[in-house]
Amino acid sequence: MIEMRELRKDFTVRVKAGRLRREKRVLAAVDGVSLSIGAGEMVGYIGPNGAGKSTTLKMLTGVLSPSGGEVSVCGLRPVPQRTRLALRIGVVFGQRSQLWWDLPLGESFRLLRYVYRVPAAEHEARLRRCRDLLDLDEFMDTPVRQLSLGQRMRGELTAALLHGPEVLFLDEPTIGLDVVSKQAVRSFLGELGATGDVTLVLTTHDLADIERLCERLVVIDHGRVVHDGTIDDLHSRYGSRRSLVADLDTPLPPGFALPGATTASIEADGHRVTFTLESTTAGAAVAALVNAAPVRDLSVVEPEIEDVVARLYTDGRGVSGVP
């Protein structure tokens, strides 16, 4: 559905060099990305700020011309065949509205029916579904400029879907939303993805979006792919481990060691201990600990995707030497 081969985008920027002189410098925003995304896949496209995510999506949607490499979406080349491609994809740039500022939301949807040449019945059915799932009814008559961010974002999602796109590109669709709105958007996208009719590429800084929605995770940094696989792949690659957190009635005896685990931290004067489970099961570790010390409370903590991704991002910085 989406093919990128050695895709690149260079921006020429002028930087101050001395008091009056300005130097041209070439910034490789996307630096040779090769990816292949199949129909019906849901892909999380993440990376630190400035990694080149938005730039990639803009090349996939025909907004920006690539500086090099090849790209095709739905079998079309985005820039030369922009208008044909636009009929088959849906786009939400979280930071930028696709709606008409001065018109009521419902009116924007009506215009989109003409812009995308959608038969009335189809339009009606899709709109009905979005209105129900995203709770739009309350503000269908409100001018877009008066909508709150979360309301507008739900409107944007609807706008991107009314023509029944085969591929949906979402650039930070949950940015700035409250917990409830985020969940509404996520479960909406989850349902959409479950049908398998639409391919979804999503960028976000909220990794819960990814955990909830995306099987596949592509991480880029400085315009290059640094990881491509499932979330589990990422955990095993970085050796993420579960940990065991125990609250004790009396501090652990000095020099205590749990077989198959390392002691990660000791807090509260020895009353709270965290072990990292290296080569043991949670059951065995708990049994050994209960035998050795008076345990008041216990919890097993799954590895946080945030931590793994943070390690991935900081590694990237180490390699290229950029602070």
């Binding site: 921006f11 400035g50 938005s54 803009k58 949607t61 025909g62 907004v63 920006l64 011309s65 820039v79 922009r82 208008t83 044909r84 636009a86 009929l87 994809i89 786009v91 740039f93 930071q95 930028r96 509205s97 696709q98 008409w100 500022w101 001065d102 018109l103 009116e107 924007s108 009506r110 215009l111 003409y114 812009v115 995308y116 040449r117 650039d171």
Partner: protein, 266 residues
């Protein structure tokens, strides 16, 4: 066909949001008409000082002013809004235009409803009518056709200039009013007999860039006057060709420009 309906719907939407600001609309309508009247009156001021300028009387020069004004306002009315491109490029909002299944230029052109410019159009056409009435024209079928085609060709030509000036923003984001200076400078240039300009200046603008064929040569042909600069009488009929050439160039530059668009970080 379906695309035309899309544009019609967009225009309708625009109209509905424009009527939300009715008072400012009326004010703009009046100030716009005033603007054009002031532009035209400079010609009268010039001829008040000297009865003959560049070898032409006021009535004759008015023909050039009238052809220019009517062609220009028609262009301004239809594609004038393209000068907003610089804001779209600066803010990166052209992204939203580019993800729609429609051509970029028509979307920008109808992004604002230029009804307020209608008064300018009325003023422009009035000047042309006055010019026709105040000259003793020896009507032939060719001249009658020319009276209609010349303002239309002028509109196409100025439309091309609008698009070219606006395209500057694709390469030079901070171009500001430079493009507008070119557009309005061109209009002012053709409002007067080109005989008043210095040789090299005239060579570049009138013939190099084609501004001489917008009003000067068609006016000579309508008036039945020989060109003091020596071009044959049929030069007046060249204006549609020059206009089409300009439109072709503008189209190529525009397309190239769209591919140069670099959006903004987001």
């Amino acid at each position: 066909m379906a695309e035309l309906r899309a544009y019609a719907a967009l225009l309708g939407g625009r109209f509905r949001s424009a009527t939300a600001y009715r008072t400012s609309f009326a004010v703009e309508l009046i100030t716009n008409a005033g603007g054009t009247a002031v532009d035209v009156s400079t010609v009268f001021v010039l001829f008040h000082a000297a009865k003959v300028v560049g070898g032409f009387t006021l009535g004759e020069a008015l023909m050039m002013t009238g052809l220019t004004a009517s062609g220009f306002v028609l262009a301004d009315l239809t594609v004038g809004n393209v000068d907003q491109l610089k804001t779209y490029v600066r803010n990166g909002t052209l992204d939203a235009v580019l993800v729609r299944p429609l051509a970029v230029l028509p979307q920008l052109v109808i992004a604002d409803l230029p009804l307020r410019k209608l008064m300018r159009f009325v003023v422009g056409v009035t000047v042309l009518v006055v010019a026709v009435l105040s000259n003793d024209i020896d009507w032939t079928p060719g001249r009658a056709v020319l009276l209609v085609t010349a303002p239309l060709a002028g509109a196409v030509f100025f439309g091309a200039i609008f698009v070219l000036s606006a395209s500057l923003a694709f390469w030079w984001v901070e171009s500001g009013e430079v493009g507008a200076a070119f557009t309005y400078g061109g209009r002012d240039f053709t409002s007067y007999p080109i005989t008043v300009y210095g040789t090299w200046f005239r060579a570049v603008f009138a013939y190099g860039l084609g501004f001489g064929f917008v009003a000067y040569h068609p006016a000579l042909t309508l008036l039945g006057r020989a060109d003091p600069l020596g071009l044959p009488a049929w030069a007046g009929y060249l204006s549609p060709l020059v206009a089409l050439a300009a439109a072709g160039i503008a189209g190529i530059v525009w397309r190239t420009g769209v591919r140069h668009y670099r959006s903004t970080g987001s």
